[in-house]
Subunit: 252 residues, 2 copies
Amino acid sequence: MHANVKQNVVPLITPGLKVACSQCNLRELCLPFGLSDDDMSRLDHLIGGGRKLKRGQHLYRAGDPFESIFAVRAGFFKTDVLTEDGRDQVTGFQMAGEILGMDGISTETHTCNAVALEDSEVCLIPFVELEMLSSEIHSLQHHLHKVMSREIVRDHGVMMLLGTMRAEERLAAFLLNLSQRFSARGYSPAEFHLRMTREEIGSYLGLKLETVSRAFSRFQDEGLISVQQKHVRIVDIPGLKALLAPPDGRIG
Amino acid sequence: MHANVKQNVVPLITPGLKVACSQCNLRELCLPFGLSDDDMSRLDHLIGGGRKLKRGQHLYRAGDPFESIFAVRAGFFKTDVLTEDGRDQVTGFQMAGEILGMDGISTETHTCNAVALEDSEVCLIPFVELEMLSSEIHSLQHHLHKVMSREIVRDHGVMMLLGTMRAEERLAAFLLNLSQRFSARGYSPAEFHLRMTREEIGSYLGLKLETVSRAFSRFQDEGLISVQQKHVRIVDIPGLKALLAPPDGRIG
DNA sequence: TGGTTGCATTGACAAATATCAAAGGGATAC
DNA sequence: GTATCCCTTTGATATTTGTCAATGCAACCA
């Protein structure tokens, strides 16, 4: 882990790493969604190459000057916020096609840390240039707004989770969310590897790692999932969904 | 309350309600921030008039088609999300100069409800036209992005609160946040009226209303605040801030 | 003005989750 | 290949918050 910190001092842009939205199989999930071929190639020219990160490396840190947003090309990230008083909250996990770094726009400084949870690859999208291009291409401008808005809506969902659900409901919602996102990327919705630790899941869900572990075990005992360390197989998706039923379920 | 629902069926645009950013004393807090006089008058022409709402009225509801964002001109709002399974989460409280409705951009449909908690007034900002103008006025475009980004950062702060703080810490953070926002608007940071019920505070903070009430009482017993129903006076701001000190405070 | 209704407070108890502690299992580094 | 370290699991107990219930307070309506 300390080794990674050291490597991270110099931002490792990989100039040879060719990226082209038009060739990318994530284009339907990512920023170029809905662009014409012509507009997409203009976006291609803007994108400042790719960058590879090893597991554990930071893509950016809170306090770094904001210059670009990032599109995850491959791999898996977490973002987290640290406060002066020592609190640490994981605010999200990002996978291929998802956009990172929009928190930095408001203060021109990143407000959270983004860390690769496995060897990963991102596209750099310089923000000043993206704004310039998006004033020319209306559909790009609108899609950028949609991406930012989607992040706001996603955050509201997390607030709902943290504000109204109990431990097992939170974990069920989390697993179903991962399942759905893997599925959208062509992976199995039922079987996947968790890239994060129990502690990171707990931080995201507002629980202690022991509580997360116990909930996993309970789900397994109940035949909802099969779990071994980081490998998860969802056996009973409807059963998991049923856990999210209303707290006043007997009434409704 | 039912009377309000009825009134709300017809959106009450108030055509006579003159609004002009250039004359508005909220312009430093609101969307026109940083615009030249000339650009501000272009924004003025775009703004589709104002709308007045009585306490309890909805500005918009989840499911409504998205057309505009709104700037709070006067008054006080809450936003909340309802799920099919009957959960209800207050996602924010908005006061003068703050922007409402950005959740609707992503799906072209509002995803939450916005309700006036006192008689209020908003400016309508038609979003299609705002995008058109912002492709011409770079500073407007950039400021819009900052406003959306600020919302994302704010949401991360709420996640931190919900994920890592205990009941009294949450309430202290909430009161300090209100205090700071009232202060920024020229009101007393120490004495204000809460526009929302204990239940709404609880929903926002992920607590039951009884827990909120007990925390208020405890703060009063400890001489941190003086509270009588909805009237709050903060007696000891540093004391409240100290409550947010690290959970591992003995160590650090 | 008096009653009604909704909101707030408080108490006693129950339930959920955190904390502390110990031990086992895998992955990683040497 | 083996030792180490980190992650995970599980148990016993403590703490926090929720639930249920009763009462009080205040504003609003008739």
